[in-house]
Amino acid sequence: MSNEKNVSVIVNGSEVKFVTPSHRTLLEALRHEGFVEIKCGCEKGDCGACAVLLDGEPVDSCLTLAWHVDGREVTTIKGIGHHGKADPLQKAFIETGAAQCGYCTPGIIIAAKSLLKDNPNPSLADIKRGLSGNLCRCTGYTRIFEAVQLAAKELRAEGEAA
């Protein structure tokens, strides 16, 4: 039982190759390859800590079979931005103090990134709906919502300037 497959996937712009059995999740496979910025939380799709973009759309990597990402593109939080080249969302999280322990932050920024791509001017209700698949047990969400609103404002200003 359980067959194997050679998978080749682009992660944050670089090709990654591995062999995976059918029952390995994308979360397990990518953390094993060193992408430990993807956080392992509930492993049943409830908490969103493991969210990544798959071909630009947000998925829970704990619910995705590694087998299914062959030939596709994955973006983790490190592909969104990093020190020296931070994304407006990451800057806004720092600015507003939206991270406490920080465990949920990668997944929340992934979900927020996808929300702002589809909806550059979200209402508070839109933000709540966009982040309803992410749990944060420290902040009470207020500053997270503020951060997303701030980043949306920055991005709109950038768009108008361009």
Binding site: E43, A51, P58, L131, S132
Partner: protein
Amino acid sequence: MLPPFDLCEPQSLADALQALSKHSDARPLAGATNLVPDLRDKRETCRNFISLEALDELRYIKRDGGRVTLGARTTIADILDDDGMKTDAPALYASAQIFGGAMVRTAATIGGNICCGSPSADSVPPLLTLDADVTLSSACGERTVPIDEFYVDYKKTVMRSDEMLTSVSWNVPPQGSANLFYKLARRKGDAITVTGVAVMIAVQGGVCSTARIALGSVGPTIFRAGAAEDMLMGKALSEDIIEQAAKAAADRCSPIDDIRAGAGYRLQTAHSLTRRLVTQAWQQIA
């Protein structure tokens, strides 16, 4: 860790149907949002899956005259991305808006939601109020079943082991109709439905010409409250008539106690939500 299982990845629907007919113990795997948690928690015992991942031919929204058809691999996010769905299936669109979180909506398919057979599957009450038909395909051919006849008991459907669901279709609701859905849950986003109600009400010449009431999470299957619907037909709806129908709808329920709510609460909310939605629908159109 998930338990080991066999997975094959057919590149065409024809190959997938062949695989299903050859392996009587094999089952389709679509978005895997039910299957992965169920495998992890050992609720799922199947160890042989046929992945539908490569079958783009099952991922579409088609319109032909007044008929809308969704391929089984159409995702909940695809439904939300299609503005036409707001009028082609208002209650289904509403159910997609409060379905899971963003990540689940990307992966979850309409076929998986219909086939999982869960009493809390949110797309199903809306589809029942639309009189939707499901198409079941096998290597020997296909058949169309009204979704009202699809469920036979808790997580049991009329689908054979060599069949899979390939599409679901319905007629666009007529002018002068209202199609609403309400999901009661512990919180507004990403929660399992405690009581789900969908209604379709149409008016013609001042009286109710179509009445559909479907209830979720209040019995072993999602069902239509036929007696309640009959009480509304042909009448100008008054508070009194609506109240009687809501009571009849609640009488059809056989809810259980679970960690999310007690049976008594479910009965009471089935009653009040039916009353509320029929009232709102009638106010919109009468």
